[in-house]
Amino acid sequence: MKMMGYIYDILNVILPFSWVDYKFMKNALLAIIIIAPLMGILGTMAVNNKMAFFSDALGHSALTGVALGVLLGIENEIISLIAFGVLMALIITRVKNKGNASSDTVISVFSSTAIALGLLVLSYGGGFSKYSAYLVGDILSVTPGEILCLSAVLIGVLVLWSFIYNKLLLISINRELAASRGVKTVLYENIFVIAVAVVVMFSIKSVGILLINSLLILPAAAARNVAKNSRSYLYTSVVISLFCGITGLITSFYINTSAGATIVMALGVVFFVTYIFKKK
């Protein structure tokens, strides 16, 4: 990985601080610089569509994804993670659009069943502890290979966004209106939930099941307090996400706390600050 060497050198030069001396901190910083905008971008639409609970369930289903991988003997767990995540996302969306039961009930049923199934399989024979890393995540152990994967996902999402953003926004304003304008609502909704599932699954090892949803929802929720149009909404969300991601990571290094938790704390603080200054 020659390229990583160059990037490390650049980081050493532009960031002459003690925490940058550690390779794992450099990797973590790079991962954050990619995960944060990813979450900031997708979060805007997830919040628009009131999908906070949905993405939470999706995060929980990661455990089942890992479990399935173990059962089927799949070496690379990301494959089973994504396969199950996408399946789960599509099923929840379908049931939600079809059924008469309120969507939070439907999602809750799926969410709890998925997490129980995952725990059941992984705890079989008492070996759960080696999977507990998935619960809280560990951004400090992110590898250059994973960083590369995440960059590819970020580029993919940006490309996708430039094709479907307007349609998604119209659907989020009013489904019937979008349909009357000839927008294939189900198709676009499915594309979006698949994108969320892929991003969540690629980030879950670094961020953890318990915190992933906060990373997706909080930046957008905070941006919503201050943004007046789509552009400022997106940029504010990405900036808040990056700012809190980086400050959270550095702070966690100095006060010796969990990186993920510290980042989410920072996001929480920013949310409340923007809430106070909410335009009325």
Partner: protein, 245 residues
Amino acid sequence: MSSQNGCGLCKISIKDIGVKKGKDVLLSSVSFDLFCGQLTALIGVNGAGKTTLLKSILNEIKHDGTVSFHTHHGEKIENITIGYVPQHLDFDRSAPVSVEDFMLIGRTNSPVCFKKDKKQLKAIDEALEMVGCLELKNKTLGVLSGGEIQRVMLASALYPLPELLILDEPVSGVDMKGSEKFYEVIKNLKTNYHIAIAMVSHDLGIVKEYADNVILINKSVLKSGSAEEVFSSKEFKESFLYGLE
């Protein structure tokens, strides 16, 4: 003034429309024609099937019968552009979407969160100007009044310029001034652009003033004709004034 619009459409024939929901018959054998350059008002009591009829014309629900489009010479046209302004836009008022964003997303695929299409920006200025909403361009949708939202919806439904415009109680619950402004725009569209307009309305005063044709329905067509004809008919009195005399 030209007597034809863009595609030469002249008449929209609605024939034998029937809609069932389970065992209930919502509409049965509804037939009438809509003409370009005319406003046809659909009136009827609550639950008469007015909105269902509009949705059938929009092809949004399953229905029997046909909706066909014809030119002056009686030739059939396969597809026409239909603009639709719903009764009430139910949306999240806290969503950070500006009027400009809303207008743009209906017209272009270039994402409003990244870069905005300059040509389209100019076009939406004109569209908003037409409905008297230009000064609202940078406001968030959520802060607009009911009448303002309806006019913005109308502006957005006018691209691409429709041959048929469908309005479902476009200004119910809107103040007098807002309602007047709205109908002046409609009148202008009808006469200057030769658009066919179908409108559901409860406001008989508005219907009397602006409609060229009135169709009274209750599951099927009870009476059609000019406002005077329909309002003075026996069927009208039975529908609206039953029990008052």
